[in-house]
Symmetry: C2
Subunit: 526 residues, 2 copies
Amino acid sequence: MTITGKMIIGRRKVVGEGPELYAFDPNENRMLEPTFLSATRQLVDEACELATQSFDAYKELPLEARAGFLERITANIESIGSILIQRAHSETGLPMARLEGERARTANQLRMFASVIRSGHWLNATLDSPLPDRQPLPRSDLRKLMVPLGPVAVFGASNFPLAFSVAGGDTASALAAGCPVIVKAHSAHLGTSELVAEAIQQASVECDMPDGVFSLVVGSGSEVGTQLVTNPAIKAVGFTGSRQGGLALVRAAFNRQEPIPVYAEMSSINPFFVLPGALSKRTSTLAAALADSISLGAGQFCTNPGLIALLDSEAARNFVDELTAILGKQSAQTMLTPGIAKAYEVALKRRFDDQAITQILSPTLDASACTAQPAIFAVTAGEFLANTLHREEIFGPASLVVYCRDVSELLELANSLEGQLTSTLHFEDGDEAIVRQLLPILTKKVGRIIANGYPTGVEVSHAMVHGGPFPSTSNARATSVGASSIDRFLRPICYQDVPSKFIPPALQDSNPLSLWRLRDGQMEKH
Amino acid sequence: MTITGKMIIGRRKVVGEGPELYAFDPNENRMLEPTFLSATRQLVDEACELATQSFDAYKELPLEARAGFLERITANIESIGSILIQRAHSETGLPMARLEGERARTANQLRMFASVIRSGHWLNATLDSPLPDRQPLPRSDLRKLMVPLGPVAVFGASNFPLAFSVAGGDTASALAAGCPVIVKAHSAHLGTSELVAEAIQQASVECDMPDGVFSLVVGSGSEVGTQLVTNPAIKAVGFTGSRQGGLALVRAAFNRQEPIPVYAEMSSINPFFVLPGALSKRTSTLAAALADSISLGAGQFCTNPGLIALLDSEAARNFVDELTAILGKQSAQTMLTPGIAKAYEVALKRRFDDQAITQILSPTLDASACTAQPAIFAVTAGEFLANTLHREEIFGPASLVVYCRDVSELLELANSLEGQLTSTLHFEDGDEAIVRQLLPILTKKVGRIIANGYPTGVEVSHAMVHGGPFPSTSNARATSVGASSIDRFLRPICYQDVPSKFIPPALQDSNPLSLWRLRDGQMEKH
C-alpha cells in the first residue's frame, strides 16, 4: 500500500479539487508528502448519495455477512504492516510501541463488534403475544426490534489515530448497527487515514458489500465537515474532540430541517480523589502511578486526571511533593500537533497569570518546539469554587490539586463539578464514611467510577461506559466505547400483526437466530 | 376531593400569583370554575429546587418502594371516583365512556410500570469479569447499570386528559426510572389535572416519599413551561402535542447552558395503504372500520389515519365512495378546545382553496360551534409529491386520499414520506409482491407497522413503539408508550473495581434482585 493523497468515495479513489492539505511531522517539524486536496461539496454529496443507496441493501444483509465484513476489515488493517505504524508515528509523534498497541486495540474492537453482531443482544427482540379474547378489546401480536438509523458521519480524534479514527469505535459500531459510514479524515493524520480507509474499501469489495457503505473525505477547516453533517442523507454523527468542535457539530445538526443526534465526546477533567487512609498507606506507589497517568501520551487522553482532590494535611502536601518530584524529572514529550502544543502553552500561561493559583511544577515554555512538559498547580477548594477557569480541561500533562479544609468542603467540591467521563477514588477501610458520602454525588456527575485505579486506559468490553453528563459528552445516554456504543445508531420499530414471512428473522416464531428475547415481559430463548 | 384552583409544590397546596386561567367546557361553551392563578417564576424555581433535593433520596430507594408508590398512585386515582370523569368530560367534551376507558388505561399503565420496576430489565445490568492475568494488561472488574437522569418536566397532551397527562405515560415512566417529576398542567383540563395531582401527592405522603418528588404547576401561555424547561434542575422533558409546541421546547432545551433531551411526540399523518387484493376482498368492512378510525375521538388522535394511499382503479373509487358515505352520515363531534376547532376549520379551508385538491366530503363549517365533522379530500400522487401542504397533519376527522397510477408511483409516494408514528398496510395473498417492496421503505420511515389493522389504539406493553423519525418525534430512538419508555430517563454508569459493599444491589455478586444479567457477553440469572 502507498499513500496517494486520494479520498475514497464508495469504490472509487478520487482526487479532491478543494484547498491543499498536508500532514505534519511534529517530531521533525516538517510537512509530509503527499499533497491531499479537500473534497468539493459535489464529492461530499456524492458520498452521501452512495451511502443512502447502499443503506437499503446493507441493512437487509444477514447478520453473519455484516460480522464477516468487520472481520475482513480487521485482517486488512493488520496486513497493512509496518507502513501504517511508521506513518502514524510520523503524523502524530506518538511512540511506535504505543501505536502498535493501538493497532491491536483497534483490531480487537472490530472483532468484538463482529461477535456483538452475531450475539444479537442489541436487537432487543421483544414479543407481546396476541390476546384475542381480552376484554374490552383484544390485544394484537406485537413484535419489536432495533433497526439502523441510516448513514452515519464519523469525525476521528487526533489523539487516537487508529482506535478513535477511520476504523475506530464509531465506525465499527455504526457498521455493526447496519449503518453506512462516511468518515471525515482528521487533518492531523491524513496518510494514516488513507491507509486504513483503503483497507476498509478493499474489505467492502472482497465481501461484496454495496457500493457506498464506506467513504472517506478530507478537508481543511470546518467546511467539509459541516457539509457532511448538514447533508439530509446523514442520520447521526459520531465525534471525539474538543468542546468547541463538538458543540459546533451539535449546533449544525440541530439547525437542519431534520435534526439528527450527534454523539460528541468532548471535555472532562476526570476528578481524582485521594482519601486520607489511602494517602497514608500508599503515598509513594500512588504518586508514581498518578504521575504515569498524568503524563501518559503527553497527557493527551480524554480520561487524563486533571483534578486531584485532597483533604489538606501534611500527608497531602508530601504526596503532592512526591508527585511533583517524579513529574519534574520527566523530559518533554512531543505533542500531536503544533496547534495542540500552542493551546497547552496558552492554558498554562493563563494559570501562571492567575494570582489565586499556586504553581507547584511550572515547566519552561518553548514556543518553537511541539512538545510539552508536565505542570502541577494548586488551589484551595474555596478558590476552585469561585472561578470557573479551574473547571476547564487542559489538554496535556497538567493537573490541578485542590486542597479541601474538611470533608464537607470535599463534598461541596464534588457537588460543584460539571459532567465528567470518569471520577476516581482512592481509599482504604478507614475512609468508608467519606466514600459513602461521595458516591451518591459522583453517580450524578460521571459515566464511570474507578476505585483505587487510574482513569487512563479504557477497556473495550460490554460493561464499559465512555460517556457522561454534559459537557463530557453531548448525550449522557450514550457510550462511545464498548459493546453498547452500537445503541447510538439504532432505533426501535414495532410490527403489529405482520405475518411471519414479512418480518425479520429475529422476531419470527421459530427464533432462527437463537436469540434471548423478552416475551410478555419474561426472558426466554426458544 | 374538590377542585380548588391550587397548584401542588411538593407537599404544599399553593395558590399562584400570576395571570388568571379558567378551564372551558366545549360542550356548553362556557368557562368553568374555579379560578386558577399561574405560577410565578419563584414557585417554578421552588418546585425545581424541591425536585433536586428529593432526587438524592428518591434515586436510592429500593425498587420495591418505587413500585409501591406507583401502585398507591393508581389506587388513589381510582378512588377519586366519578368527579374525575365528570370534570374531564366537562373540560374536554370527550364522552364519559371513553374517559372511563382512559382511566382504566391510565391505571393499567401505572401498574405495568410497577411491574417493570420490579422486573429490573431496564437496569440493563452488565458485568465483565476481571482478568488479572491478561497480557499485556490485566482487565478490571467492570459493572454497568442504568441510573436516572434527574428531575423531569412533563407536558400533558390535550387529547388524553388522563393517559397522556398528569399521571400519564411520561410521569409513570419517569417516576419508575427514579426521576422526580414536575408536571406543567395542560390549560385545557386544569381541574382534571388538579384532581390527579392531588392523588399523586397523597400517595407520596402515604408512601413516605421525599418531599418534592412530584409537583404540578399551572400557567397561561408558554412562560411557565419555558421557565420550567430552562431551569438547570430539569434534566429531561416529556411532551405530547403539536409540532410547533414541541419544537419550541426542543429549542429552549437546546439553548440551555447544559442542553437536555426533549422527548416530544409531535405530528404524524399515519399513511394507510390499501392494496388491490384487500380492496377487492374486503371493501365494505374496510370502509366501515377505516371510517371509525378516522372519526374516533373527533379525529384527535396522534395515530389518526390522515393519508389513504390507493392504486387508482374503479374498485378504489368505489371504496372511497363507501368510506365517504359512512363518514357523511356522522353528526358533528365536540372538539377538545375552541382553538383546536378553529385550527381544524383553518386546515380545511386551506384545502378548499387549493385547486389541485378534490373535495370528496366537505362539511359545512360553523365557526361558532366547537365541533367538527369528517372531511375527505383527494389528490393524485403527482400532486401529493409536488406540494408539501399535503404532508401536513390535520388534527381532526379528516383524511387525504392519494391515488397512485401504478406500483412504482405508490413506492415513490412511500419514499417521499416524512417520519411517522405508524403506517398501516391492508393486503391479501395476491398483494405479496407489493408488500415486499413497501416494507423496506416503511421501516425507514415509521415507528410501527400495522398489518390489516388500524393505527388508532396504542397498546401499553413491552413491544409497543409509539415514536418514529422526525417530525413524528424529536427523538426517533425513544418510545413514549410502553415499558421501553422508561429508557428515556436513564443513562448508563460503570463501576470499575468498586467493592461490592459500595455498589447497587443489581450489580452485586450474589445477584440479590435475581436479575437477568449480561456477564462477559452471555445472559445469566444466578
